[in-house]
Amino acid sequence: MKLGSAFLIALFTAAIGLPALPEAKVFEPETFTLANGMQVVLVTDTRAPVVNHMVWYRVGSADEPTGKSGIAHFLEHLMFKGTKTLKPGEFSKIVARNGGQENAFTSQDYTGYYQTVARDRLEVVMRIEADRMANLQIIEREVIAERDVVLEERRSRVDNRASARLAEQVDAITYFAYPYRVPIIGWPDEVSRLTRDDALDFYRTWYAPNNAVLVVAGDISADALRPLAEKYYGAIPARAVPKRPRPAEPPHLTARRISLADPQVGQPSLGRRYLAPGYVHGETRHAYPLQVLSEILGGGTTSRLYRKLVVEDRIAISAGAWYGADGIGPQLFGFYLTPSQERSMAEGEAALDAEIVKILADGVTADEVARAKKRMLAEAVFVRDSVTAPARILGQAIVNGRTIADVEAWPDRVAEVTVAEVNDAARAVLILEHSVTSQLLRKGG
């Protein structure tokens, strides 16, 4: 299933139940910046003679021009379609011929490309990745075929799935102005009219070394990496990159509700989300307490929601909470619930609301905070058991406006969170007027 996940995208990062990657203190990365402004980050890990090579661009679907939804993701596909010196498809062929695996992803805030290769193949992939940063060249025929591929991707991911169609509509009403309202893959009508020029315009505007970050993880030292990075990426001149077009989200004055009924749905379910601050957006001091709150309410089978609604009261088959702090725009704190067969959606929602009211009125306990923090800090150790996770976490943090020091301090910040901070954060965020409630329903019995 290599292709099923090729171009796998953080398309639905805000979808129910997808936890953010945990972070850890002890990546102990090294960093330096090339003369053209491109930052380089290295995490040395000698477990296997392999390196993970990633280039992240500070541009995503939320930076697209009006009417061109999907262009960031479409460009990501077209980046495999050739340069001044590489024929269409040759990029992937070279990676495979060197025993490498590759992938790329587009999110709302960033776009990334990576290869995993034997350490002595790093220079090969670096050469071709730098080449397509500067020399993309695409022919019309490739553009048309690839646009059809993207439309098929949309059908597979969204149009064929009731839950994904609802998720897309939920995003669209969650934000009034902020571009997170637009699906990463694009609205079908707009995608079908994207052109070669649209892609090249977007490429020329955003794909510059000073708007990119190189992250390398694996069996290599900084001394070995620096000359390679200078040779290939350092040779590309810096260019002026515009300020990202991110409008402010206006105040939300009323709760919204949305539902979708479809014959494909066998199991009804409920979602609730609230606008929230993040690491770099809004009242950022709440970002760490909200992670602890999410763990207390919805992290695992000893969490409040699972114990009360699933085990004790048997109102729900599953229930939990989620929160993402990473994006540069307004973030979300959310809940999900699947009502039991014997209970109605309304009963499920009332039970969820009762738990939210309780947290707002009584707050969390010191024991709950201590247990949640212990589990979260353990995650900071588990995450080191991988070459790819540290690179992903660091890359995402840096392109989204945080620093290596921020990432390294994650365990300390979590450890410092107090009961009062968790309660303050809950009261600042769980405001019904700022929420969207969604229901996925069965149609026709």
């Binding site: 890990d45 992937s92 597979s156 085990v311 212990k374």
Partner: protein, 442 residues
């Protein structure tokens, strides 16, 4: 010139997983495990796999193995469900179980400083699971909800229909997770019957990676697995040939994109031609530039994903594949799958394709050794298929040793375009089914 170049690469890339040294550890009680010791992080990962899975579910109680997997960590020994879960979560111990058709696995990941407790909980789950009424009923509801959730999705319908047609009166033809009704019929005594039939030392494979010495592991093996019975009942299931070939079945659904699953007979894991087949599958379906992807995705934009893979089950070996295309053009995708299949069988791979595939297979091999669960999974697979502890060093030679002549012969043997059976779920245009699709329910 090009061939020479890639051959040169081959030699450089055959260095396998570097520092990965595999130790065979046998406990005083006679339990064997394979260990990759690595003290860089304070983490220990254990994979335990037993032969026997959902294929052993009694007729009418399909989903039993899956339900066992869901309830083993819901109470064991003196600990009821909530006490057991609290012991896991408060120590950040990750313990989970999963059932496949032919096997059942447990996976443990723990920080070293709480590993005694982790091993104790794993032992309790495997030897003293309680299957109390409350957690059993809760897990039953959760599995039924997940079945309900998927039941009417095109991919799920396509898969159930294909397997039902291929194995109408064999466990492989039944939905692996069972149906809402069959899961509802599984009781605690059924779960106990499964653990008795499967959790035994004559069918166990243990792989361990991380912060533990061979000496300590030897003791742990007896503690955790020493209480299991020596032998278990055999597998009464018989080998089975495909009942359905060369068919085209359509299940009408109101979706814009048709989901297609196809397949025919494959090759056993212990077949001498296995490595030739592996190289051929890389050329056929190994991602960008592979034959299926080139013809159906890259040239014509007919799909986001087309795939195919070898599936050597215990009682039947298959090649399976799939593709998804908008209703109006799905007939073209099916025609192309057949054409690519036929052409590959007749002409075999080119020298360049063979060189590239071998380079990729051997060169990408070390990538799977970059995290503990990847290493543990690999160790278990090598043990199960009896490939030998030196397999990690021999594998590259096995791949390189496949000759072009072998590949042409095996391509003819393996790819039989006329034998392919297709199931299409959607509202496809221009397709005439050869038979009615079997009911894919219960």
């Amino acid at each position: 010139m090009r061939v020479l170049y890639t051959l040169l690469l081959l030699v450089l890339l055959t260095v396998p997983a570097g520092a990965t040294e595999i130790k065979r550890v046998v406990s005083p009680g006679g339990i064997e495990a394979w260990l990759v010791e690595d003290h860089k992080n304070p983490i220990i990962t254990v994979d335990v796999t037993f032969l026997g899975g959902g294929g052993l579910d009694p007729s009418g109680k399909e989903g039993r193995a899956r339900l066992v997997a869901g309830t083993l960590d819901e109470g064991a020994g003196d600990l009821d469900s909530s006490a057991f879960q609290k012991a896991l979560e408060d120590n950040a111990i990750k313990l989970s179980f999963s059932a496949r058709t032919d096997s059942f696995s447990g996976s443990l990941s723990t920080l070293t400083n709480v590993s005694d407790e982790a091993f104790r909980l794993m032992r309790l789950a495997l030897t003293q699971a309680r299957f109390d009424a409350e957690p059993l009923s809760r897990m039953r509801s959760q599995i039924q909800a997940s079945i309900r959730n998927r039941w009417r999705r095109p991919n799920s319908i396509a898969s159930r229909t294909w397997w039902r047609a291929a194995f109408p009166d064999h466990p492989y033809g039944r939905p692996r997770d069972g149906s809402i009704e069959s899961v509802g019929r599984v009781e605690a005594e059924d779960l106990r019957a499964f653990t008795k039939a499967v959790f035994a030392r004559d069918r166990i494979y243990v792989s361990v990676v991380g912060d533990i010495t061979a000496q300590r592991l030897a003791k742990v093996l007896d503690e955790v697995f020493g209480g299991l019975p020596k032998t278990a009942a055999g597998d009464p299931t018989s080998d089975r040939a495909l009942a359905s070939a060369s068919e085209l079945m359509v299940v009408k659904q109101p979706v814009p994109q048709s989901v297609v699953i196809f397949g025919h007979e494959g090759i056993r894991r212990d077949d001498p031609d296995w490595y030739a087949a592996t190289v051929l599958m890389e050329i056929m379906a190994g991602g960008f530039g592979s034959r299926l992807t080139r013809e159906i995705r890259e040239k014509r934009g007919l799909t986001y994903g087309v795939y195919a893979y070898l599936l050597p089950l215990k009682h039947s070996s298959l090649i399976m594949g799939g593709v998804s295309t908008q209703n109006a053009r799905v007939a073209e995708s099916i025609r192309l799958v057949r054409e690519v299949w036929r052409d590959f069988a007749e002409t075999g791979p080119t020298d360049e394709e063979v060189a590239d595939a071998k380079t990729y297979i051997n060169g990408s091999f070390p990538i799977r050794f970059t995290n503990s669960s990847g290493i543990a999974g690999f160790l278990t697979a090598v043990q199960r298929h009896k490939l030998g502890i030196d397999y990690i060093d021999r594998r590259a030679g096995l791949i390189d040793g496949v000759s072009t002549q072998d590949l042409k012969r095996v391509a003819r043997r393996l790819f039989k375009a006329d034998r392919l059976s297709f199931v299409v779920v959607g509202d496809p245009e221009g397709l005439t089914p050869t038979r009615e699709a079997p009911a894919s329910g219960g």
